[in-house]
Each structure stands twice: as C-alpha cells, then as structure tokens.
C-alpha cells in the first residue's frame, strides 16, 4: 500500500548534496512528491523535507539508502509522528471588483494574507499543512486561479528534543542535550487539523 511518507533529513551544506539525495531516491524507483531544502541555524547543515509516495517497507529502504550517503547526517521518517509540517502557498487569484470580497473572506478563514494586489488579481499567501493548502486551492478554483506556487512541506517534530544537537559528535551518543525549540505552535490556527 502506497502512502505519503514525510522524511526529515539533515544534510551537509555542500554543493551537489541535493543531486545525491534526489539520485538515491530515484535509483530505487520512488517518486518525490515534494522536496524542500533550506539552511538551519548551523551554517554547515541544511534541512531537506521530502514527501514520497511509497509503501512502508519501501520507505524504510529509501531511508536506509539515504542514510548511507556520506553527506546525509541524519534522516528521520517522521510520518505519523507528532510533527508540524507546513508548506507555503502563493496563489495569484483572478479577483476583479465583483468577486474580490468573496475571495478575501475565504483567505481570512484560512488565515492567509494578501501580499500583492492589482486591478484584476491578488496574490495570496497561505501556510499550513498540505491538506489545508489543498483545501484552500479547491475553494479558490471557482473564482479563477491564475497561477500557483507551493513550497512543499517543511517539518519539525513537536516537543523539546532537537535533532540538530544530536549531530554534535563531541557529545556522548545517545544522550541528547535538550535544546528548546521555539514555542511557536500554530496548531490552533490550522483549519484542517494536523497530520
């Protein structure tokens, strides 16, 4: 049974790493739904968040193959864990005067923001779970979508334990130092429930 798996990967911030990770996933014949990369608070480490459509055993295989890459520092399959997994949507809506109010009402419900406004259209920004973003797009469809850009999910596991600290190999392994994550948890705002 194929399922969407969410992999959170910390990698060395070096050229070619994205290529290696993508190749390793491709080589096992898995399709990447979304992949986002960005810096972390440690300049030498980037975080990739990958969603793939695979079965559980395949996901395990993909995870293990990725873990073998020298540039992959840690990899966690966080599917089903308590995670905050959000993506950013930018959407250009057909929004002439006649329908603009209705569009903006829905944007409000989704806690979105208008980030650009023109005569016939608006660009709206919405963040949240993939499901929430999907739902929002569905609701926008009747008004006329002109363009969509989605970031793909980025994710962090909830709670106090931070993976980044585990990377410091000076620490005795298995004894994670507590590293508080900022308490900025907007679960309550999420209109579609969480993953």
């Amino acid at each position: 049974m194929s399922q969407s798996r969410l992999l959170s990967v910390l990698v060395e911030n070096k050229p070619g790493v994205l290529n290696r990770v993508a190749s390793a996933v491709r080589r096992r014949g898995f399709n990447i739904d979304s992949l986002s990369v960005g810096p972390t608070d440690d300049a030498s480490v980037s975080r990739m968040t990958i969603t793939v459509q695979v079965g559980r055993q395949q996901a395990e295989q993909a995870t293990k193959q990725l873990a073998k890459l020298i540039d992959v520092i840690t990899i966690d399959d966080v599917t089903g864990q308590r995670v905050v997994a959000h993506e950013l949507l930018l959407i250009r809506m057909h929004a002439p005067h006649s329908s603009r109010r209705d569009v903006l009402d829905i944007v409000d419900i989704f806690r979105g923001r208008v980030v650009d406004i023109a005569v016939e259209s608006v660009i709206v920004e919405v963040t949240g779970s993939t499901e929430k973003v999907d739902n929002f797009i569905e609701l926008m469809r009747p008004f006329g979508i002109k363009e969509v850009a989605r970031s793909g999910a980025v994710a962090l596991v909830r709670g106090d334990d931070a993976r980044l600290r585990l990377l410091d190999f000076e620490l005795p392994s298995g004894e994670p130092e507590i590293h508080p994550v900022s308490g900025d948890d907007d679960e309550a705002v999420d209109t579609t429930g969480n993953v």
Partner: protein, 577 residues
C-alpha cells in the same frame, strides 16, 4: 623483478611548512595513508601529478594500458589483501569515464578503491572545455562517495576523508575529481595529525547483547540450522569466528559466489555455493532449514532464485550485516544485527552452547551424496573441470585465484577446494567480463609472495587483454588460464536452455591464436586440448618467473550444472546428466 612492496607503515611526511604544489600534496597524503602502489594513466588534466610523480620513488606507479584495467587492477590490489586500498589515477573526460565500469564493479562488491581523476581547471569547470565531462555526475551511482575539490586547501583533508570513507563500514570506491590548476597551485602544507571523523558516518554500534542472547537461543533450539556467508565475512576477517561457530553448534555452512573461499571447502560441515548455480545439496539444505543464519551477504536474486522459493520451511532467519540497508531489503529476517561480522561473532561465540543435531547432519550428508558436484566426460574432449582440478591441486591452499565472468567463473567457484580459508576473487555483483585479468595484476602486486592464478573465458580475456603489455613490462608473475570454448559460453548455455535453443551472437570461433597473441606481447604462452598436457603445462608455468598465458581448448558444449532455470525456484535445479 617485481617491484611490488607491501604497503608500509605511514611514512614520515615531508618537512612541514614549505610550499608544495597541489600535486605534491596528493603524494604526501598518499604516503601518509600507507600507499605504495598506484595504477594510472596520464593525460592533459593530470599532467601536474605526473610531473611530480618521479620525485616520489617510494611510490610504484604502474602504467596500465586502459583506465578500465587500472580500476580493476586497483580493485584486485585491495580485494586480495585485507586492509589494502587500491589507488588509481586517470585524466579527465575519457580517462575518467573509462573507469566507470571498474568503479561499479568495486562498488557492487564493496572493495575499497580511491580513484583520483584530473579535471579541467576549476575556472573552466562547467564550460564544456576540452575533455571536460561531469565525472562526479557520471560516477555518483557507482561510488560510495565522490568529491570535486575546489580549493587547494581542501586537497589534503579530502584525500584523508576519501581513504577513511573507502575503508570503513561497508567499504567501497571513492572518487576525487581534482582540477588541474589546483594540482599546480601551491600552499604551505602541514600534515594533519588528527584522525578523520565524520558526523554522518559513525562507528557501527556494539552488537546488542539482547539480540546476541536471542541468536544463541535460536541456535540452541534449532533442529535444522544452516549458515550462509558472504563477502562481508572476508572483508571483516571473520573466517575463524565462522569456523568456530559452525563447529561449536555443528551448523552446516554454505556460501555465496563472493563468499567462496571464506570457509574451508573440505570441512565436514561445509556445504557449497548456494543459489542459482549453487550445489543441489546446499539448496536442499537451505530449503529444509528451520534456522538460517546469514552473515555478510545481501541475499540477492542469484542467491534466492525466485524469492518465494527461498527457505520455505524456515522458522527463524538471523541476518548479520554491517550495512543496515541490506537488512530486510530482499529477505526479511526475524533477528537482525547491524555489525561487523568479526565483532558480532566474537561477541556471540561465548553465548553459544555446543550442540549437534545428528539427524540433520546425516540428512545433509545423504543429500551431499545424492547431489554431488560433478562433470561428465564427453568424447575425450578436454573438460574445464579437468583443468581446474589440476590447477587447484597446485594451489596448496595458498594461491590467490581469480575468475572472470561466465561459465569459467562458476566452474572455478564450484571446484575451489581449499582445506582452509583462501582467496577467490571475481566480479560477483556486476559480473564484469574482463575483470579478472587486470585484477590479477593488482592481486599479484599486492601479494608478491603468493602464487596467482587467473581463470578467464576467451571472451572476457580479450576485453582487457591490453594489460598483457603492463604485465610483461612489470614482469608480474600471473598464471593465466583461458578456458577456451570458442563461444560466449554462459550466454550460449542460456540460449540453449532458456531461449528456445536459438544460438545468436555467441560464436567466438574466430578468436585469436592465443599463443601468438601472448608471444606478441612478450608473454610465455602455451596451448593444449589434451587432459594429459594440463598438469605439465601448469608446472611449466609455475616454474616460469613472469606472466604466462595458457590456452585450453575445452569441450565447446560443456555447461554449468547445477542450474536453476530462469524464473524457477531453488529446488528446481537441473543437474549434470
């Protein structure tokens, strides 16, 4: 005389703090890693390396005649001696790309090789400059890791890291792409003293005590235990521990193609090679086992044949391997241990109680008699096994034996018959024809005191026969046996048995006269098609100091048996008739 010298203790690096070129830094670092032999081929993008090479007479550079030969030679050098790392140089573009198959071969079989390729100047990278190709991109899936060096300061740390990565965990080839201008640039070089540590590449964990006790318990409860071992056992040097475990609990032990040599074939507990072209009695044992212990192996399709036919009666599978990705990839174990085989077995042994399942051992002995590995004499034609038996008789349980790919490889594996663990090298994972001959050159240079036999088909031999020039130039004492069936034998057998008997593009009747060919290169060369000549010819070859090419015109219809027909299961093996 062979110029070989075993890898020495790391040499004293040059006086600290004088400006060195990038090329010199490469050599300083290679010496610091204990390298003594380099296989290589020059070209525009690595000329600075070659400019400085003569100032390092401690390094024995072997000029191969094709970069593929260089990569296989480095593989043979490393594969034939525990702890050795093979080093190979090539230039950019075509030079580097010629190594791809060699790297893939080493990668599939977990062989530590460090390849250093010249690249166009860093300022020209990405411009489609002359002889520029994307070597990192082209080799990414056939190397354990690769590096494009972009600053001279990174050369030394990169080389150190490359050796560390190549050697540790599950070993494998690592490529360093080194732009030409960095080889020429200079900097003050200070040798590093700190050991390499990679945060993404931790030491394998100590074997879990609970799991070890569980495995010991499974062994004590098993009525029909079987152990299968792969190349991981050889890599970790766990042959003794495997023997001890087998004997303490009387566990019949078989092996994969790449595990051949890890267990003494003449041992009463020895099974044989398992799987697709494995021995019938071994396949039967695996299919009847209630406990299967798999050590240092991948369980690929040549081992399992049709997956659902593999070990149908098994109640527990224990899988020990250093690569977590191999656990559960093909065969899902009940108990698994991610660990170095030697470490794991060392920890397991004290927990295992001596035992012996008489009935099981008797059954296996019965199967062994019912399904012997045998061959059939036909019309007085020379049988390949007759050649191999004579050769193995002269190995004295010591010689290093290499086999190429095809029927010759499987015959050589099935007739390997040492009384103690020995070295049998072949390209198992990729099945690269043309591997054995250049690899045998590396094996001999790595083990100058050992006799080396290289078995090959006439098809595979010509794929890298240019290395005859290297062999003769360096006077590398390898005894080559061509089992000449005037065809791409294994493909021919497949066509005969599984593809409607239509022989297509397998006829090699037009092969060169190998005696003339060998002599043209300056090799001692001999040929025969008579069984009576085999022994004397081998003796003459052994008495000769230098490379010898022996051609044996064998029965052109000799096949490999047993064989499991394609798509069939483990017990559907067909035997010699």
């Amino acid at each position: 005389m062979i110029q070989a010298r075993p890898d020495t203790e790391a040499e004293e690096p040059a006086a600290a703090k004088r400006p060195l070129t990038g090329a010199e830094i490469v050599f300083e670092c290679l010496l610091a890693e204990g390298v003594s032999t380099i296989f290589g081929y020059p070209g525009g993008a690595n000329l600075p390396l070659y400019q400085h090479l003569p100032s390092y007479p401690q390094l024995h550079h072997v000029l191969v005649r094709h970069e593929q030969g260089g990569a296989h030679a480095a593989d043979g050098y490393a594969r034939s001696r525990r702890g050795a790392v093979g080093v190979v140089f090539a230039t950019s573009g075509p030079g580097a790309l010629n190594m791809v198959t060699g790297l893939a071969t080493a990668y599939a079989d977990s062989v530590p090789v460090v390849a250093i390729t010249g690249q166009v100047a860093i300022t020209a990278v990405g411009t489609d400059a002359f002889q520029e190709s994307d070597v990192i991109g082209s080799t990414m899936s056939v190397t354990k890791h690769s590096y494009l060096v972009t600053r001279i300061e990174d050369i030394a740390p990169t080389i150190r890291e490359a050796f560390h990565v190549a050697r540790s965990g599950r070993p494998g080839p690592v490529l360093i792409d080194l732009p030409k201008d960095l080889q020429q640039a200079t900097m003050e070089f200070e040798p590093a003293t700190e050991p390499v540590r990679l945060r993404s590449f931790p030491e394998p964990p100590r074997p879990d005590g609970m799991k070890l006790r569980r495995i010991a318990q499974l062994i004590s409860e098993a009525r029909r235990p079987v152990m299968l071992i792969g190349r991981g056992v050889i890599i970790s040097g766990a042959e003794t521990e495997v023997m001890e475990l087998a004997h303490r609990a009387h566990i019949p032990t078989g092996w994969t193609l790449l595990g051949t040599g890890a267990f003494p074939v003449r041992d009463p507990l020895a099974l044989q090679m398992v799987g697709f072209m494995g021995a019938g009695f071994t396949n039967r044992a695996v299919c009847d086992a209630d406990l299967l212990i798999l050590i240092g192996m991948r369980c690929d399709d040549r081992v399992t044949t049709r997956l659902d036919s593999f070990a149908p009666r098994v109640e527990h599978i224990v899988h020990i391997d250093i690569d977590p990705a191999e656990i559960g990839k093909n065969v899902v174990p009940h108990v698994s241990l991610v660990a170095d085989a030697k470490t794991a077995l060392g920890a397991l042994l004290p927990l295992v109680e001596p035992k012996r399942e008489h009935e099981w051992l008797t059954t296996i002995d019965q199967w062994r008699e019912e399904h012997p590995i045998r061959f059939v004499h036909r019309n007085g034609l020379l049988q390949p096994q007759e050649v191999l038996i004579e050769m193995y008789r002269r190995c004295q349980d010591e010689a290093i034996v290499l086999a190429d790919v095809g029927l010759n490889q499987i015959w050589a594996a099935l007739w390997f018959d040492y009384r103690k663990p020995g070295r049998f090298l072949n390209s198992g994972g990729t099945g690269t024809m043309g591997y054995a001959f250049p690899a045998s050159m590396g094996a001999k240079l790595s083990n100058p005191d050992k006799t080396v036999f290289c078995i090959s088909g006439e098809g595979g031999f010509v794929m890298n026969m240019q290395e005859m020039a290297t062999m003769v130039e360096q006077n590398i004492d390898v005894n080559v046996l061509i089992l000449n069936n005037a065809s791409l034998g294994m493909v021919r057998q497949f066509q005969d048995e599984f593809y409607g008997g239509i022989r297509s593009a397998v006829d090699l009747s037009f092969t060169p006269d190998f005696v003339k060919l060998g002599e043209a290169f300056g090799m001692k060369a001999m040929t025969t098609d008579r069984a009576a000549d085999v022994g004397p010819m081998l003796d003459e070859a052994l008495a000769h100091h230098g490379p010898v090419l022996m051609n044996f015109d064998i029965d052109r219809d000799a096949n490999v048996y047993p064989i499991v027909p394609l798509g069939k299961g483990m017990l559907d093996f067909v035997e010699a008739s």
